[in-house]
């Protein structure tokens, strides 16, 4: 799991978190204590959903980031490239199926190769 084998933002009572498919083995995760660490940059798939697709002008892209990057590094990149500012209430920032704010380390959460980030309009029921 993320963060060297810790569970997700909160213990899902044994439930498997979303994006399990893309979670790297603990030894490969940024900040992990395993014997080998990735040399290649981290590649994060970013999907721009709904109205944000119109604003970004594309459906998705793969963003390469240096080893050891965290959500705050990706946030900077998204602001520079598309003007999407983390903290803007009109945008939901989601990492592997969970809101960025759900992770205990929030913006300091380490990224891992294969992570998926969704940028979405805030959902509402009705």
């Amino acid at each position: 799991m993320r963060q060297g084998g810790q569970k997700g933002p909160s213990d899902g009572a044994g439930a498997q978190g979303p994006g399990a498919k893309t979670d790297p083995p603990a030894a490969l995760a940024a900040g992990g204590q395993g014997p080998s660490r990735p040399i290649a940059p981290i590649r994060v798939t970013v999907k721009y959903l709904s109205v944000l697709r119109d604003q970004a002008g594309l459906r998705q892209e793969v963003v390469p980031l240096p080893e050891g990057s965290r959500l705050q590094d990706l946030a900077r990149r998204l602001e520079e490239s598309h003007g999407f500012v983390y903290g803007d209430r009109r945008i939901m920032f989601i990492l592997n199926g969970r809101g960025w704010g759900q992770y205990p380390q929030a913006l300091k959460t380490p990224l891992a190769d294969g992570d998926t980030v969704l940028l979405s309009v805030p959902v509402a029921g009705g």
């Binding site: 933002p9 899902g12 959902v123 029921g125 009705g126």
Partner: protein
């Protein structure tokens, strides 16, 4: 009495005797229950016993506006009904839009109660204080849109409201809706209740004005909020609720092929951009609405060319991915068919998907489906099965009894039925958000995402509730339900509620300037009172912990594909949340409000 927002009168119409009467709405009652859903539930509590047959003459329909209905503020279009629900065979509350509620109030009434059963097909015309009974025999068989036109014509006023049923309501199809000025009381089959009463529709016109306590302050809020909504609800104006299709799919929560999985591979064919670029015609605005989130779509080419409907998230999800359909034109055509024949698109989508799964599993054949190749992804099957249901033909006659009727006759099919208390699911797979599971389980009208409390955003964004955590969901769901209960009693559309301060911590004091009474600090408490009053009704009708359970597929099958592949929600996990919810509510282990809770909420005096 209040300085504004209410007329203080309720009109009662007896179809059996062809009489009507006007009763006074008690101010003390309104202080405790606000209006709308709260007051309608109270009337139901006192007048509809557990023995009442939903389709018998003793059932009643209680239409109630709220203090904001019709007031010159944004989206004050809403009013509520309560009745014994044909689909669930228990208490049903339903929320409708259109012009009818505002016009009813302008005609001098906060509420309208329909009782008895007409001897033959009838319509009602309410003009200010006067009521007339019209002959609707020539309108028998008319679709609900055509019936609305007849009603507008009969009342002869441009600014009228009308509600009507289609052929499905006449045939007492238990998922029949009531078409209200092209919106609907969609869920639970209230259209079949009107059908059982041989009431084809009602037209209403009022020349009166709705008083408010502080007209200048109301005018100021109207101007400011209308402007603010242009920005804050710009996405609604652009895409309507279809903006969420792609999001819910990418989160792994989209019901697909009868909830067999939660990610639809054809999602991009049915999302907001696909809708807007190829099918969008114009925006639809409800009464006083500056947003206009209704997206009127028209199919311009192909086999469904000419089909037109106002296609929204739940309908797209349940007629589309849940039936394996990626042809948006077929979804529009299916939506139109449901609207005209007069059935709820959400229950229809679930029943079509059920039929497709039964067919693919070899449990039914073409003999049952009148020759329809009922496979997932077949658009003609979608339309064909909708027709069978609405016309009660072949297997449609059984499906028209709702999932409760289906399971009664075929208990062996229950593993494929996705419903709680007889109400089929909304377009979210609860294995994707555990709070949503509790929402479906504890909603006071069965598996409804609105009455049950829509938690998905909080589970993604709040930082308090992880979507797959169990702890904390009881309180989250309870508060969301209570918020919805009071908002449903206001007469306001939920799309704009945030902009008017109607959150879990209400602000802005809108009700003060409308009614002159400081309801604001009490609103969540009123919502809690309403929710508990409804639960007492359900308890009386035999609903308890056993009825709060989720269907087999949800608690026994892991999600087999998509972003949340492998996700499970066991019965044990669900019941841990349910225990917490009951404790937070002040209910006993069987899901009944304790005497202490009833006393704390001041319900004891209301039900005496």
């Amino acid at each position: 009495m209040f300085k504004g927002g209410y007329t203080g009168k309720v009109l009662r119409v007896d179809l059996t005797r062809k009489t009507h009467a006007v009763q006074t709405l008690d101010e003390g009652l309104v202080r405790k229950l606000l209006g709308g859903r709260g007051v309608a539930a109270w009337m139901y509590y006192h007048e509809i016993g557990p023995e009442v047959d939903p389709l018998g003459p003793e059932n009643k329909v209680f239409f109630m506006t709220g203090p904001l209905t019709g007031v010159k503020l944004p989206s004050t279009t809403k009013f509520q009904l309560a009745t014994k629900g044909p689909e669930t065979r228990m208490y049903l509350c339903s929320n409708g839009g259109g012009d009818f509620g505002p016009r009813l109030k302008q005609a001098g009434f906060d509420g309208l109660v329909i009782e008895g059963q007409a001897e033959d097909w009838t319509y009602l015309a309410i003009r200010d204080g006067k009521v007339s009974f019209g002959d609707a025999r020539p309108w028998q068989g008319l679709d609900s849109e055509a019936a609305l036109e007849k009603l507008y014509e009969a009342i002869g006023e441009a600014k009228a409201g009308a509600l009507a049923i289609g052929p499905a309501g006449e045939k007492r199809v238990r998922l029949a809706h009531i078409n209200v000025d092209h919106r609907a009381f969609g869920r639970g089959g209230a259209g079949a209740v009107l059908g059982s009463k041989r009431l084809k529709g009602i037209a209403v016109f009022g020349g009166g004005t709705i008083p408010v306590a502080d007209p200048q302050a109301v005018q100021k809020v109207w101007k400011e909020a209308s402007k603010e909504l242009q920005t804050s609800r710009a996405n609604h104006k652009k895409y309507g609720t279809a903006q969420y299709i792609e999001v819910i799919n990418e989160l792994g929560c989209m019901p697909t092929r009868n909830f067999q999985t939660s990610y639809f591979e054809g999602g991009h064919e049915v999302d907001a951009q696909a809708m807007k670029s190829r099918y969008y015609l114009k925006n639809f605005h409800c009464f006083n609405c500056p947003v206009g989130c209704g997206m009127v779509c028209e199919v311009k080419e192909g086999p469904y060319a000419g089909a037109r409907a106002r296609t929204e998230f739940e309908t797209i999800g349940l007629l589309g991915p849940n039936c394996g359909i990626s042809d948006f034109g077929a979804i529009v055509a299916g939506n139109q068919l449901c609207d005209e024949l007069g059935i709820d698109t959400m229950s229809a989508g679930n029943l079509v998907a059920l039929t497709m799964e039964l067919y693919e599993r070899g449990l039914i054949s073409k003999e049952d489906t009148a020759g329809i190749e009922a496979r997932f992804g077949n658009p003609d099957a979608l339309l064909g099965i909708i027709r069978l249901i609405a016309e009660r033909k072949a297997i449609g006659d059984l499906l028209a009894e709702g999932v409760k009727g289906v399971v009664e006759k075929h208990p062996e099919w229950s593993p494929y039925v996705l419903a709680v208390k007889g109400m089929p699911f909304a377009a979210y797979d609860p294995r994707g958000f555990y709070g949503n599971a509790l929402t479906y389980g504890t909603s006071n009208r069965g598996a409804c995402h609105n009455v049950g409390g829509w938690t998905i955003r909080a589970e993604l964004q709040s930082g308090q509730y992880d979507r797959f955590a169990l702890e904390g969901k009881g309180k989250l769901v309870m508060e969301t339900q209570d918020n919805r209960a009071y908002v449903d009693s206001l007469g306001l559309c939920t799309v704009v509620r945030g902009s008017l301060g109607f959150s879990n911590s209400p602000t802005m004091g809108i009700l003060n300037i409308v009614t002159g009474h400081d309801f604001t600090p009490e609103l969540m408490h009123i919502g809690e009172r309403i929710y508990n009053l409804e639960r007492l009704i359900l308890n009386r009708e035999g609903v308890g912990r056993a009825e709060d359970q989720l269907p087999e597929r949800i608690v026994k099958e892991a999600i087999p594909s998509g972003p949340i592949k492998g996700q499970v929600l066991s019965e044990e996990m669900y019941n841990r949340m349910l225990d917490e919810y009951y404790r937070d509510r002040g209910w006993d282990a069987q899901g009944a409000p304790t005497p202490g809770t009833v006393a704390r909420l001041g319900i004891k005096e209301l039900v005496a």
